[in-house]
């Protein structure tokens, strides 16, 4: 089985000209984790996910202290919101380089890439570079598990 067989073929993407605020609104409306950022020809320039957007809200100390288990109340930072200027910046200023795979990529290879690069969604491209689908860890993981022999039929025991 290849990634092309388990991916979602309807991909919600965002044009490179959109703002960070528009990206956030799209993620909220479609309840998705990752938006490929595409140019006018539909080629992927990068990706922007929930994680990237939330760096605008995350306090600095989370990246400075190894473990936050001793902080029981985040106090003022719980109510910190990004400034209007931060939301008006283009998505290209916050996006990161995309890890993408071709449609015929094997499932284990795709899963290993996601694990090692700490990704939750993997955009899939055709031979000409056009975005054709996106697969999540659950899509790939469930497809892999479905290949196990001797699983009880019909799901729940």
């Amino acid at each position: 089985m290849k990634i092309g067989d388990c991916m979602k073929r309807t991909v919600v993407s965002i044009p490179a000209t959109a703002t960070v605020g528009e990206a956030a609104a799209l993620i909220v409306a479609r309840h998705i984790g990752l938006l490929p950022v595409v140019d006018a020809q539909g080629r992927v320039l990068g990706v922007l996910g929930v994680r990237d957007l939330l760096t605008l809200e995350l306090p600095a100390f989370v990246n400075l202290v190894d473990d936050v288990d001793f902080v029981h109340d985040f106090g003022a930072v719980e109510t910190t919101r990004p400034s209007p200027e931060a939301l008006a910046q283009p998505v290209t200023s916050l996006m990161r380089p995309a890890t993408m795979v071709p449609e015929d990529c094997g499932l284990l290879r795709a899963y290993a890439l996601m694990l090692q690069r700490d990704l939750h969604d993997l955009p899939v491209i055709a031979a000409d570079g056009a975005l054709v689908g996106i697969a999540s860890r659950v899509d790939i993981g469930a497809a892999l598990l479905a290949g196990w022999r001797g699983l009880p039929k019909g799901g729940a025991p």
């Binding site: 306090p59 600095a60 100390f61 990246n63 400075l64 202290v65 473990d67 288990d69 001793f70 902080v71 029981h72 109340d73 985040f74 106090g75 003022a76 930072v77």
Partner: protein, 429 residues
């Protein structure tokens, strides 16, 4: 004549590379030391044996021993634990936070490396400021300024002090009787001045003061068992420092002995522990010792001292005050370790020509210690807080440091100069 000029040229070029940061300081140091020994052997003014003899193993042993103890204490979360307690005790009041975090940082930096102390306390400071909803800038700057100021009080508080003590033969207690009282006054001046300069920021009542009360110090201490062991050993070492002269033990032996005891007791993953030791700093020290040894062997330092001794019309007391300000001005813009290593043999040569050099050692310690407060690059602790602040919403800029840090340097040097003059008879003994 030619050896002197060549040695001066080699040292000058190396210092230029170190201070301009065109080359990593350890690399520049090793290269300079190699060229100095090579030139010395070629022209016959400096040998390999003399180069090895120029290395001050007292300083290296003391630094290595203390670095090992810190490397063991660092991952236990002990520093984080103290900072969290300070946060709770302040009940979120900014001025109390300033006093408590400043005091914790100072006391730690009197016995441990200033940079490590600041590296470990500053992240928790940013955490406390963020959950309170106040700017971390006054606290971060205060921590660097107070750690550097307080470190001057003890023999082990600051690398220049270790160097000076080793060269002058000062004991741990000499620092407590001669440096500590003056440093205490300078420290208080620094604290009050930081409070005054940041009075607007520190006057605000944080909207979320109760959030700090929800911090759990016990959870911040990751490895209480190891922390207790290392603190017991460190406490024992500090007790021995108090009496090291009477029991005829060098500070280096005490520090290395304590490190050995702690390693045996804790039995850490040595790979990780030794990775935390700043070998680059130790090698930098060795390289500087070798280079300055070359300068000395070529007769340069004696010539400099001869020139300075001609200024014998200047009363020794004012000579000391001039040294405080001169060394402080240099330390504000460049690393105080090479300055100290270069000035030490000059002071020794002044002793040879008949000057009472005891007060000059203290002037060197004060100048090298307080000078670093003047600019954002004046000390490594300053650079650390500034670079950590860049990850927050309120980065500390060089211009801000000139407005709020430079006055602290000038005030501490002024207070120290007055006390130096008043206590001159005591400092001369």
């Amino acid at each position: 004549m030619i050896p002197g000029l060549l040695a001066t040229l080699i040292f000058g070029v190396s210092l230029y590379l170190i201070f301009s940061e065109k080359l990593n300081r350890t690399i520049a140091g090793i290269a300079g030391a190699a060229v100095m020994v090579g030139a010395g052997m070629a022209l016959g003014f400096y040998s390999e044996e003399e180069a090895i003899a120029a290395i001050d193993f007292n300083t290296l042993g003391l630094l290595l021993g203390m670095m090992t103890l810190v490397a063991l204490l660092e991952p236990t979360g002990f520093f984080q634990y103290l900072a969290v307690w300070a946060g709770r005790w302040s009940r979120g009041h900014p001025v109390w936070l300033l006093v408590l975090l400043g005091t914790v940082t100072t006391v730690l930096s009197m016995f441990l490396d200033n940079v490590t102390t600041v590296v470990l306390i500053a992240p928790v400071t940013i955490l406390i400021s963020e959950i309170l909803g106040v700017s971390p800038t006054p606290l971060l700057m205060a921590e660097a300024l107070l750690a550097d100021t307080g470190g001057v009080a003890t023999l082990i508080g600051d690398p220049p002090n270790v160097l000076i003590a080793s060269a002058a033969g000062f004991s741990f207690n000499d620092f407590l009787t001669h440096a500590l009282p003056i440093v205490a006054a300078a420290w208080l001046t620094a604290l009050l001045l930081v409070w005054y300069l940041f009075r607007v920021e520190l006057g605000q009542r944080p909207p979320n003061a109760e959030a700090v009360l929800q911090l759990n110090p016990a959870q911040a201490l990751d490895d209480p068992v190891t922390a207790r062991k290392v603190l017991v050993v460190l406490g024992g070492a500090i007790l021995l420092f108090f009496i090291h002269n009477r029991i005829h033990l060098s500070p280096a032996f005490i520090a290395l002995g304590a490190a050995a005891a702690a390693l045996v007791w804790v039995r850490p993953d040595t790979h990780k522990t030794f990775q935390r030791i700043e070998w680059g700093v130790l090698i930098f020290f060795i390289a500087l010792f070798v280079m300055v040894g070359g300068l000395e062997a070529a007769g340069v330092l004696h010539a400099v001292a001869g020139l300075m001794a001609r200024a014998d019309g200047v009363p020794p007391m004012w000579f000391g005050v001039m040294m405080i300000w001169g060394v402080a001005a240099l330390s504000a813009v460049v690393d105080n370790v090479p300055i100290t290593i270069a000035v030490i043999p000059v002071i020794e040569s002044l002793g040879v020509v008949g000057m009472n050099i005891r007060p000059l050692w203290w002037a060197l310690a004060f100048g090298a210690g307080f000078g670093g407060n003047g600019t954002i690059i004046g000390s490594t602790a300053n650079i650390v807080v500034a670079s950590l602040s860049e990850r927050t919403r309120t980065p500390i800029t060089s211009a801000l440091w000139n407005k709020r840090g430079l006055p602290v340097m000038l005030a501490t040097c002024a207070v120290t100069s007055v006390l130096y003059v008043l206590a001159f008879p005591l400092l001369s003994r």
